[in-house]
Amino acid sequence: MSFYSPVRTNAAEAASDEKLHLFTYVEDPEQHTVKRYEEHGGYTAWKKVLADMKPEEVIEKVKNSGLRGRGGAGFPTGVKWGFVPKDSPKPRYLCCNADESEPGTCKDRVLMERDPHGVIEGMAIGSYAIGCHLMFIYIRGEFGHCIDRMEQARKEAYEAGHLGKNIYGSGYDLDLIIHTGGGAYICGEETALLNSLEGEKGLSRIRPPFPAVEGLYASPTIVNNVESLAAVPHIINRGAEWYKKLGTEKSAGTKIFSLSGHVKQPGNYEVELGFSLKKLIYDEHYGGGILGDKKLKGVIPGGASTPFLTPDMIDIGLDYESLVEQSSMLGSGAIIVFHEDTCIVWVILKLIHFFRHESCGKCTPCREGTGWLEQIIRRIEAGEGRKGDLETIEDLCGNILGRTICPLGDAAVMPIQSALRLYREEWEYHIENKKCQVKSHYPFK
């Protein structure tokens, strides 16, 4: 095994397709070294920015590229950077969000392990754009190997003069701190992340103020996902126009999709936004079809917090707009596929158990509501469901949705609501017959 993570990627395709850029070198076992990264044109964007561009120009360029946040919400990256007050006397901070804990998502890990300098270069350019001299990357604590890789990359970047004082003689100083988390999903939420970075419990903060105005140490702070930042050097090098032409009109660029569950070839695939979901699941270059050639039952398209799609809904493009049209979301791009031998109540039980466990407990609807939901759903799954349970679930969901401090509450209920809507008969069967229609118990081969 030449890589730490044996995950499948479409790097070969990325290497021969000039549109794909995030995965071009991820199968090169030396790409994580500064030397190889430089040989592949690394840090030229950073040099160019420091030599010829004003911060406003960088922001303008990223705005014009159409790049949107890859952490889940899809907010335009350049626009977010523009929110940092120009006149604030306080220091500004940039935090790269590498908490990667949304179930189904395993893409940032590949970038950090195999192309860590790409992440550092993107962070550096983002920092310059907002006038930041100290940037952080918050890596989930379980990713020991990523942490070691990023520490090593940091060291090499300093030694090669890409970070530190007076970088390339420009007069610009920039430092990097590798921060590590402690196993809490909620710390991926940007305000909880900032609390955690300050050495507090990872509880979400009430907004406003937004982090861009008052974030880390009460100073203007930008939080961006790993993949968003990794795209930035390519936008600088090849231009906003080039990037804008990739993908669809409103969803520009490429995106890494983590394909998991019942497909023959799970993996991380970089494709243009708007790429066919059906093709990603069935094409021999990507998912290769459903395990055991069974019938598809459903897809979670954007990570555990996004509403389900049924088989008749998968003939769509993977872009922000198309998924909203299907009442779902692109989220973090984690596509979880399940086939006909899967009990929907069982799937939902796994999800609600997760959200209950990860609720930070700050607001009542989420803390209490997720607990009740898990209890009822566990009961139904065990064949002890009662008449009226489905109505109670719907009621609880309605009382959580939109009533919480952070979006975790919504994230917990949206998949449940969609599963009740799309697979209603199965829930009813479960309650009436006191058992699953299909038993989800899979061997591991």
């Binding site: 604590g141 990713f143 988390g181 402690g182 990860e358 899979y442 591991f444």
Partner: protein
């Protein structure tokens, strides 16, 4: 002293990097955990001295984070992901298999103190499921044969 000189040095260096030392709590907890395998009051106290942050602040933050066992566990802490992507690929069977192989139930430690088995939430290895983490290392795309081999190797090393 529980913490090694190397750990203390690493933590102290971390604390120097941040504008506020308190920020170094989590990285310090991680460094301690990687060396010791668990965290308790005695460890918090040593961390407190190493990063010069009051003990109570460390203990308070630490209670929130689930990654760190709060008491000694087996030499090898096996954490199986039980979340959806792994579950679809047989995580439940993997857990049962490990329970049988180790002769313990989930949550327990083998009598020889070699293995502790728990299950955890998503570890970001969804496309290489099922998987388990043993101490710092990830083991992915697991099969019964691979599990046998991994356990044998760890036993031989112990």
């Amino acid at each position: 002293m529980i913490l090694s000189e190397a750990s203390v040095k690493l933590m102290a260096e971390k604390a120097e990097q941040y504008p506020r030392r308190k920020s170094a709590i989590l990285p310090a907890l991680t460094i301690a955990y990687r060396q010791v395998g668990y965290l308790d009051d005695a460890v918090y106290k040593e961390i407190s001295r190493a990063i010069k942050v009051p003990y109570v602040e460390i203990a308070e933050a630490a209670t929130f984070y689930t990654m760190f066992p709060k008491k000694p566990v087996g030499k090898y802490l096996i954490q199986v992901c039980h979340n959806i992507s792994c579950a679809l690929m047989g995580a439940d069977s993997l857990i049962e298999y490990l329970e049988e192989k180790l002769g313990i139930e989930k949550g327990e430690t083998t009598p020889d103190k070699l293995f502790t088995l728990i299950s955890v939430e998503c570890l970001g290895s969804c496309a290489t499921a099922p998987m388990m983490q043993i101490n710092q290392d990830f083991y992915e795309n697991l099969t019964p044969e691979k599990v046998d081999q991994i356990l044998d190797e760890l036993r031989a090393k112990a």
